[in-house]
């Protein structure tokens, strides 16, 4: 099948397709950022996308979530075409993402960060809140409860009323994932979740990612260039360099691929 390695177990191949990226190409002016990129994710998979800095990994996420309009190519989520939809509609369909450079609402409280992401599911409208109808109070309490539950999972419950920007770095990373999950996604795009973390924090993060995948029944697509994380948790990996796919396979296959070693370590490393 297109956009998948051959070494995936047949059981997984039976599952429905969640995200299908077909022949995606994107130019920034005359600079080719992504060329002929295809990936197909099946339900419940945890797939990695790696590559050196500037390979075009984050651009892929931006193309999927409607930040940029691709020059060419198709993206389908659950069989629905995503290209051309505005970002907020893409997100409301069930795709959530985090950011490489943390983009929390730094001046707002931890709880408000999560509640903002929860907004499309608030269940009450402007009239309810202006007149403070019963529905406002009920739904608002319900929302707070669900957000607190989410924060509890990430160990942020006690800090719910702290200003998000005042959290330590590691917790800000966690809050970003919590906020992304508040949009109630089925597909989670994680953009370098381990950036700036030490090996111990990365181990914790790996457990957390496994946990949320099972707990929220997610499909996860992960951009990373920290090998430790990717090699340990991803079921299979796509490697890109200069906007093109150079390898695809299980972590073990990718690790020994000469093209990948060249891209990461330079031509001398192969000799």
């Amino acid at each position: 099948m297109k956009g998948r390695p051959e070494s995936v177990s047949p059981e997984v191949e039976q599952r429905p397709v969640v995200l299908a990226i077909d022949d995606l190409t994107h130019y920034f002016e005359s600079l080719r950022a992504v060329y002929d990129f295809s990936v197909t994710l099946k339900q419940g998979e945890l797939v990695g996308l790696i590559g050196p800095n500037g390979a075009g990994k984050t651009t892929i996420f931006n193309l999927v979530t409607g930040v940029y309009l691709p020059t060419e190519g198709r993206v389908h989520y659950d069989g629905v075409e995503l290209i051309g939809l505005p970002s907020h509609e893409v997100i409301q369909m069930g795709i959530a993402r985090t950011f490489q450079n943390i983009r929390l609402f730094a001046n707002l409280t931890v709880l408000d960060n999560v509640r903002i992401a929860f907004h499309p599911h608030a269940g009450y409208g402007l009239l309810d809140s202006v007149l403070r109808l019963r529905r406002f109070h009920d739904k608002e309490a319900e929302m707070v409860e669900q957000c607190q539950e989410l924060l509890g999972i990430f160990g942020l419950e006690e800090r719910q009323n702290d200003i998000a920007g005042s959290l330590p770095y590691g917790l800000q990373r966690r809050l970003e994932i919590a906020r992304a999950l508040a949009t109630r996604p089925r597909l989670l795009l994680l953009d370098e979740p381990a950036a700036g973390m030490n090996p111990q924090e990365i181990d914790q993060l790996m457990e957390l990612i496994h946990f949320i995948r099972d707990h929220f029944h997610l499909t996860i697509f992960l951009v990373e260039h920290r090998m430790r994380l990717v090699m340990n948790i991803c079921e299979w990996i796509t490697v890109m360099d200069f906007g093109e796919i150079i390898a695809r396979g299980t972590p073990a296959e990718v690790r020994n691929d000469p093209g990948v070693i060249e891209a990461y370590l330079g031509r001398q490393a192969i000799r």
Partner: protein, 416 residues
């Protein structure tokens, strides 16, 4: 309902009633003369405009200089309704209220229709919305007015005069505010796509256009009773303390209830980080428009209140230089602080039109335009975050939910 009114809310409610009663008694006894009553009402009106701007600029991050334009629209529209009414013409009432209602219905229809298409350009949306609005008002003038006008007038005349006056005044205020809201919607669709600074320039242009139109109401526009640059006289002075009080409380509660809800958090998220908000599923454009329309609606309401207090409207009152007043008030009080805006709004009028005008030596009245910039300068040097910063009195503050008692097990414990 009642058990929800606990703590600070109760005090604020009691305080509000107390203020209302005391001012009413003082007005009745004549302890507050017409001059100070004017200052009070003016302060309330300008504070309402500023609260609207605070929603747009302080909470949504969109730099608007157009609020005086919407203030003018509300003032002229509601004044036209009551002026015509006291001259036995129900046309103003029918056209403004009926036209607004029809236009709102058509606009809802247009936006529901356009939502079914992908990739509708902003300009197309603007054109369709403009056509819908024009059609609504055209129908109100040509169809609704001749059909509904006479029987409505006959019906209202059969009621006691005091009641009719209040009903017409209420509808005039509502109509003026709604008209301001509709026009801000039309203006906001294309212009809010721009970045905040460009939006500021565009709204400045809007204020100038409105002023020029007000200068030419009797020539370019078909409203001879507004008398263009000579100024509109003969507006019934129907603004009373209860109306001012009710409108003011309405505006404060509207702002508070909107901001401390999911909608309000969506509005604030746009200010914080537009791209992140969009990627959390927030329809950024629609919340910019919403904040802009709400803020302008409130400005229109304030315009109606002011017009019927002053009983005289002159285009020079809506000069674009004036449109900086709400901006100064909002920044002076503290961006994103309703308490600060309310305080600064009243202080502004009290200082500029009350204290300084009265107590500067004779012949030195114009010196107040030297004194207040100096105050502003010192203020910005000492407290750049504004008088109140982000402080809110407890009533206007968002109540932080209690953390849950029993901590759920964290992911680590589950995994371990």
């Amino acid at each position: 309902m009642l058990q929800r009114l606990r703590g600070s809310s109760t005090y604020v409610l009691l305080g509000a009633v107390l203020v209302f009663v005391v001012v009413q008694v003082l007005l009745s006894l004549g302890a507050i003369n017409d001059y100070w009553r004017g200052i009070l009402f003016w302060g309330a009106a300008i504070t309402m405009v500023s609260l609207g701007l605070n929603l747009i600029y302080g909470f949504n991050g969109q730099f608007s200089l157009g609020q005086y334009g919407f203030y003018a629209i509300g003032a002229y529209a509601s004044a036209d309704v009551t002026y015509r009414w006291v001259h036995s013409d129900p046309g103003g009432l029918v056209v403004v209220i009926g036209g607004c209602a029809l236009a709102l219905l058509l606009l809802l229809g247009v936006s529901a229709l356009l939502r079914r298409f992908y990739g509708v350009s902003t300009l197309a949306k603007f054109v369709f919305s403009l056509l819908a609005t024009v059609l609504g008002f055209f129908l109100a003038v040509r169809v609704l007015n001749p059909v509904v006008g006479p029987p409505l007038y006959a019906f209202l005349q059969s009621l006691p005069a005091v009641v009719v006056q209040q009903v017409v005044f209420f509808l005039a205020l509502l109509g003026g505010a709604t008209l301001a809201g509709i026009i801000s919607y039309l203006f906001g669709i294309p212009v809010l796509e721009l970045g905040s600074d460009y939006f500021g320039i565009a709204t400045l242009g809007f204020t100038i256009i409105i002023k020029v139109l007000a200068d030419n109401t009797d020539t370019l526009l078909p409203f001879p009773e507004m008398k263009g640059a000579r100024g509109m006289v003969g507006i019934p002075p129907w603004t009373t303390w209860p109306w001012v009080f009710l409108a003011f409380i309405f505006v404060v509660l509207l702002m508070r209830n909107v901001l401390h809800s999911s909608t309000g958090r969506a509005i604030v998220s746009v200010r914080e980080d537009e791209r992140a908000a969009r990627l959390m599923g927030i329809n950024v454009t629609s919340y910019k428009v919403l904040a802009f329309v709400l803020g302008s609606f409130v400005a229109g309401l304030a315009g109606g209140i002011r017009a019927h207090d002053l009983a005289f409207l002159h285009p020079q009152n809506f000069n674009f230089i004036k449109s900086f007043d709400p901006l100064i008030i909002v920044v002076f009080g503290g961006l994103g602080s309703m308490t600060g805006t309310i305080f600064a709004g009243f202080a502004w009028i009290l200082l500029l039109e009350g204290v300084l005008r009265l107590y500067l030596p004779e012949g030195f009245e114009t010196w107040r335009f030297v004194v207040y910039p100096l105050i502003l300068l010192v203020m910005m040097l000492l407290r750049p975050q504004g008088l109140m910063g982000k402080y809110e009195i407890p009533f206007l503050r968002q109540r932080l939910p209690e953390p849950r008692k029993k901590a759920e097990q964290t992911a680590e414990e589950v995994v371990a």
